[in-house]
């Protein structure tokens, strides 16, 4: 039985065995206790601000200034959430984010796996030269091409449309690179056998390769979605009407509209974090597999 080499394909117990340290039975109880202490303190630091946010979002603005501060308000105040949901475009922004991130993710998973398959398994003229071009574009920081990109999108008359948000991110080449690495790890025997049986290249890609790299596709999808969800600069520049804004830009824009309204801020920030955290919790295995793959590649 062939087994592909990337961590995403490992079963849960195998993965756990891989990432659980062995040979450290020698760690004394004292060392273990100190380690737990340090890690737990670090977790408090990383999680603390979220609790602060949650606590602030459930208080009316006036009681924010109370001293000493109340971590758990005795009376939960839902006004901030109500205001956010019914008096701002918040839901619209979330919908926009999901629309844009969803379309970008689907398109990238499809195109990048095709391109990755082509670069990994097919022979065609200038293949290596083209791949070098892909690698070079990998190094271009997005913000450095902000100005010309703005004009290109303007001249295509796409500013202030969903297309402006969707098209430019599709050119990010990292996915092609990832998919090529994943697909290269697959044994060529299977596809050669299929080719002998007269399967077309597309059939090989669609029926054979795609199912085999499914974990890789999920890793790519998760990362693409995360990048899209967190993106800020381009959506800020590319659209200016409120009903097209994505959630990051929409929330940040609140500061210029109203006086700093801390309650709204905290409720909005918290609710913007919920979807991405849920995605993370469900697909945590792939996040960790992804970072493990990155590290093992060294």
């Amino acid at each position: 039985m062939t087994r592909s080499v990337y961590p995403g394909s490992y079963s849960r117990p195998t993965l756990r065995r891989l990432i659980t340290p062995r040979g450290l039975e020698g760690a004394s109880p004292a060392t273990t206790a100190v380690s737990y202490g340090v890690v737990v303190v670090a977790c408090l630091v990383t999680i603390g601000p979220f609790f602060y946010l949650l606590s602030s979002s459930l208080k009316p603005d006036a009681s924010l200034f109370q001293y000493p501060p109340v971590w758990i308000p005795s009376h939960l105040y839902w006004g901030n959430y109500a205001h956010l949901l019914f008096h701002t475009e918040f839901l619209r922004w979330v919908a926009n984010t999901f629309l844009v991130a969803g379309v970008v993710t689907c398109a990238k998973v499809l195109f990048d796996s095709m391109a990755g398959y082509a670069f990994a398994k097919m022979r065609f003229p200038f293949r290596n030269a083209l791949f070098v071009v892909v690698l070079m574009t990998l190094m271009i920081p997005f913000s450095a091409i902000l100005i010309p990109l703005f004009f290109i999108v303007r001249d295509l008359h796409l500013l202030n449309t969903y297309w402006a948000l969707i098209l430019p991110p599709l050119a990010n080449p990292i996915g092609i690179f990832m998919m090529r690495t994943f697909i290269e790890g697959l044994p060529s025997d299977l596809e050669n056998a299929a080719r002998l049986d007269g399967a077309s290249e597309f059939a090989i890609y669609w029926r054979l390769i795609l199912p085999l790299v499914k974990p890789g596709l999920v890793v790519l999808a998760v990362f693409t979605f995360l990048i899209q969800y967190t993106s800020f600069l381009w959506p800020l520049v590319a659209v200016s009407s409120t009903n097209l804004e994505v959630v990051t830009v929409g929330l940040a824009g609140q500061s210029s509209i109203s006086q700093v309204d801390y309650g709204i801020y905290s409720a909005g920030a918290l609710m913007a974090l919920v979807p991405i955290t849920l995605v993370f919790l469900f697909l945590q295995r792939f996040f960790i597999a992804g970072s493990l793959a990155g590290a093992l590649k060294q």
Partner: protein, 273 residues
């Protein structure tokens, strides 16, 4: 193809733009190297470059040292490890713009968490974003918070990939844990660390979201950064040429760093026994 329109053509254009005058509206004129000479006499441009590099220098060493220390401790955490790792990682999920909203709270001089923490140890509160010496470190603190979990898990995974036999041999030779770390772990991780450092630098040089939300470059130019400059050149100053010059500088620095890294990594592989 797609890349050509949205990546390669822009690179060509941005270099061309850096030789032009004019703004969002109206005609552009070719002005030769005028933008390239003018930019150095502009205080804002110099400050932006300086702040961006200082910011990278504040964030990366801090987050790497903390991340590495946590990763080392994390190896001893077995029961509950996955849950704790998830908790560490969560800030990395927060969009920078949203994290900046949290920071608006934390650094508020009147009720923010930073000053509350200081007051419990008896230090008087600071005006974090209002002070020109504290504003940039405050913005850096946000990225440190976001980065800790990511780099801890990254280093953790790298540590697990190291060959165990070497450690057993070193332990038999009587090398203590600290000696083992500096003599064995760090040299073994050098390629990983090099890659991580370049990746983190390229990312840090593009800092924008947090600055835009928290200070917009204020106080004075204390938190002005390169990408903020590019953004303003495009949408506010009507000085595209200068923005393009800054973009080309950013592009150049990024390419130089990446190529230097690739060269170093390749030499290593060749030089290895």
């Amino acid at each position: 193809m797609f890349f050509t329109i949205f990546l390669l053509v822009p690179v060509g254009l941005v270099i061309y733009d850096s030789f032009e005058s004019g703004g969002l509206i109206g005609a552009h004129h070719f002005v030769g190297f005028k933008n390239w000479t003018n930019v150095w006499s502009q205080a804002l441009a110099i400050e932006s470059l300086k702040n961006t590099f200082v910011y990278a220098l504040m964030v990366i060493p801090t987050v790497f040292v903390i991340g590495m220390i946590l990763a080392l401790f994390l190896r001893n955490v077995k029961r509950g490890g996955p849950a704790l790792r998830a908790l560490l990682y969560v800030p990395a999920l927060a969009p920078v713009a949203v994290a900046a909203l949290i920071w608006i709270f934390l650094v508020n001089p009147d009720f923010g968490g930073f000053n509350l923490a200081l007051s419990t140890v008896g230090i008087s509160g600071q005006n974090w974003l209002g002070s020109s010496s504290l504003a940039l470190p405050t913005i850096a603190s946000l990225e440190v918070w976001r980065g800790i979990g990511f780099w801890t898990l990254y280093f953790f995974a790298s540590l697990l990939g190291l060959p165990r036999e070497l450690y057993q041999a070193a332990a038999l030779d009587g090398a203590g844990p600290i000696r083992r770390f500096f003599r064995l772990t760090l040299p073994l991780l050098r390629p990983t660390l090099l890659f991580a450092a370049v990746f983190a630098t390229v990312y840090a040089l593009q800092v924008f979201d947090s600055v835009y939300v928290l200070t917009d470059g204020a106080p004075g130019n204390a938190t002005a950064t390169v990408v903020l400059y590019i953004y303003n050149a495009l949408l506010n100053f009507n000085e595209l040429g200068l923005g393009a010059v800054m973009s080309v500088i950013l592009l150049g620095v990024t390419l130089a760093l990446t190529l230097a890294m690739m060269r170093l990594l390749r030499n290593r592989r060749v030089g290895a026994p």
